[in-house]
């Protein structure tokens, strides 16, 4: 019996494409979804660049839910699974439908409590008449990793046989203004780990996965794309918005994940960095990476230069990139990285790398001091 937990379906709604194939092809081509938006300029925002999903129709107050449902449909189709009634739903987001809070503040007769992260998770369960556990993780920019990790635990415990897990975040004007006023936004572009980096660029989207046990997947003829090994968590307990400057929290999260997975750091071939593009966060992450990978650095890549920072959906979207990379043994280039920062002393790949990928780590950090590192592995023997 092989009770590894595997991903058998991926669905993506991203600023760089709807559907995994479109996102992946655009990433490999080195494209970015970064654009100037006239509506942001007209509203008086200082930062007017963002990565937004184009050509996606949804009622504004249900945008996150529609994105999550679209991604779920794609993941189910790829997995070719008949969902059992007790399928669990594990969904991460920062605030849920930000627009509901904005409208309520503007005086609309709306209860924003009906539009939070739980509402998106419930909508997925409702759409497929599922009666399994429904978990809504509101752990900001780490929420996608948390959701997939919790799904993995529920499958390992035997509570459920199939999980729908991932993250969703609609474009948020609250976040756009908030990060700008926190001086965390870049004026031009997100440049992960780059010497000229000046901040983050806001994104949006959803990524949803079908997870199941390896033996169940093989038995029904599904194609496992990647194994989900372990989730390492930590909290800096240091500052409301800044990471601990020496990166100790993220270092502990990576070490905890590797320890739980029973995997040596030397087996890690690729780290998808959190790489928000802010001075402080990238420096802390670089120190964390150096403290873990003392005998050789895996290939590093970052995704936020291409798709922006989708907050609660960010680590789910980047997990989709990791899973696709593992399935195809390919690491995408890092949009926005051109000049190595001597203070960081680490570079990200700027080219497509084709190599044997046994193990990959997807890093995520968040306001509140959260760190979440998810370890994935190849299903190739």
């Amino acid at each position: 019996m092989n009770n590894s937990i595997v991903i058998t379906g991926i669905g993506v709604v991203s600023p760089l494409g709807i559907g995994m194939d479109m996102l992946w092809n655009n990433l490999l081509a080195g494209k970015t979804s970064l654009k100037h938006f006239a509506d942001l300029e007209a509203a008086g925002y200082r930062n007017t660049h963002a990565c937004r999903v184009q050509d996606f129709e949804a009622p504004p107050v249900h945008r996150g839910t529609y994105m999550a449902l679209d991604a779920t449909k794609q993941a189910i189709a790829q997995s070719r699974i008949q969902l059992p009634e007790n399928t669990g739903v594990f969904l991460g987001s920062t605030l849920g439908e930000s627009m509901a809070y904005e409208m309520a503040a503007e005086g609309a007769a709306i209860d924003p409590g009906q539009y939070n992260t739980f509402s998106i998770a419930k909508a997925i369960a409702g759409a497929y008449r599922l009666t399994g556990p429904v978990q809504a993780l509101s752990t900001a920019c780490t929420a996608g990793n948390y959701a997939v990790g919790m799904a993995m635990h529920a499958l390992q415990r035997g509570d459920i046989s199939v999980a729908i897990a991932g993250g969703a975040e609609p474009f948020s004007r609250i976040a756009m203004v908030g990060f700008s006023r926190s001086r965390a936004m870049a004026s031009d572009a997100c440049k992960p780990f780059d010497a000229q980096r000046s901040g983050m660029i806001l994104g949006e989207g959803a990524a949803i996965f079908i997870l199941e046990r390896m033996n169940d997947a093989v038995q029904r003829g599904a194609t496992p794309l990647a194994k989900v090994y372990a989730l390492g968590l930590s909290c800096d307990a240091y500052h409301p918005t800044s990471p601990h400057p020496d990166g100790r929290g993220l270092s502990r999260a990576m070490m905890a994940a590797l320890q739980q997975a029973g995997i040596s750091k030397d087996e890690v071939d690729w780290v998808n960095i959190h790489g928000s593009g802010t001075k402080v966060s990238d420096t802390a992450e670089a120190l964390a990476l150096k403290s873990v990978f003392t005998t050789g650095m895996p290939v590093l890549s970052g995704s936020k230069g291409a798709i922006g920072h989708a907050l609660g959906a960010a680590s789910a979207l980047e997990l989709a990139i990791c899973a696709q990379g593992i399935a195809t043994q390919t690491i995408p280039p890092t949009a926005g990285f051109t000049v190595q920062d001597t203070a960081i002393g680490l570079g990200c790949t700027t080219a497509v790398v084709q190599k044997k990928i046994r193990i990959a780590i997807n890093n995520a950090s968040a306001f509140g001091g959260l760190n979440a590192s998810l370890v994935l592995g190849s299903c190739l023997s």
Binding site: Y101, P112, G113, S138, Y146, H239, Q260, G368
Partner: protein
């Protein structure tokens, strides 16, 4: 330990000092903050600050909104505050769900029990905020 606290319509940043005081009075401080798991269950942490922040944006404009409110718009801000107060560096979860949903709370308890065993946690702090 499970603690039930109420913030109602109070802004999160104003409610949290009283909440950590009451937790400390009732349960003391964690023996090993690095081996303590923190689990917050709430349907509306971050909601009051989000409404207040956006009202401030409407009043003062995007370029002059109060930046101090923004971190509190994130649902996990309460959990982060508790972690900083007690120095808790272990797993830190914020679950969104109606606090009267016992089925959901049981799922959180299951995760907390698993974390305790798998990670060798010495203390588990579960806080339900309504």
């Amino acid at each position: 330990m499970i603690c039930h606290v109420h913030i109602g319509d109070t802004l999160e940043k104003e409610a949290m000092p009283g909440i950590v005081d009451s937790i400390e009075k009732e349960f003391g401080r964690p023996r090993r903050p690095d081996a303590t798991g923190l689990y917050v269950i709430s349907n509306h942490t971050g909601a009051n600050a989000s409404l207040a922040f956006w009202k401030d944006v409407i009043k003062n404009g995007a370029a002059f909104a109060n930046p101090e409110l923004f971190p509190w718009t994130l649902a996990n801000s309460a959990c982060g505050y508790i972690a900083r107060h007690f120095g808790i560096t272990g797993p830190n979860y914020t679950f969104t769900c109606p606090p009267e949903n016992q089925e959901h709370i049981n799922e959180v308890l299951k995760q907390a029990a698993e974390d305790q065993e798998r990670l060798g946690l010495e203390d588990t702090l579960i806080i339900i905020i309504d």
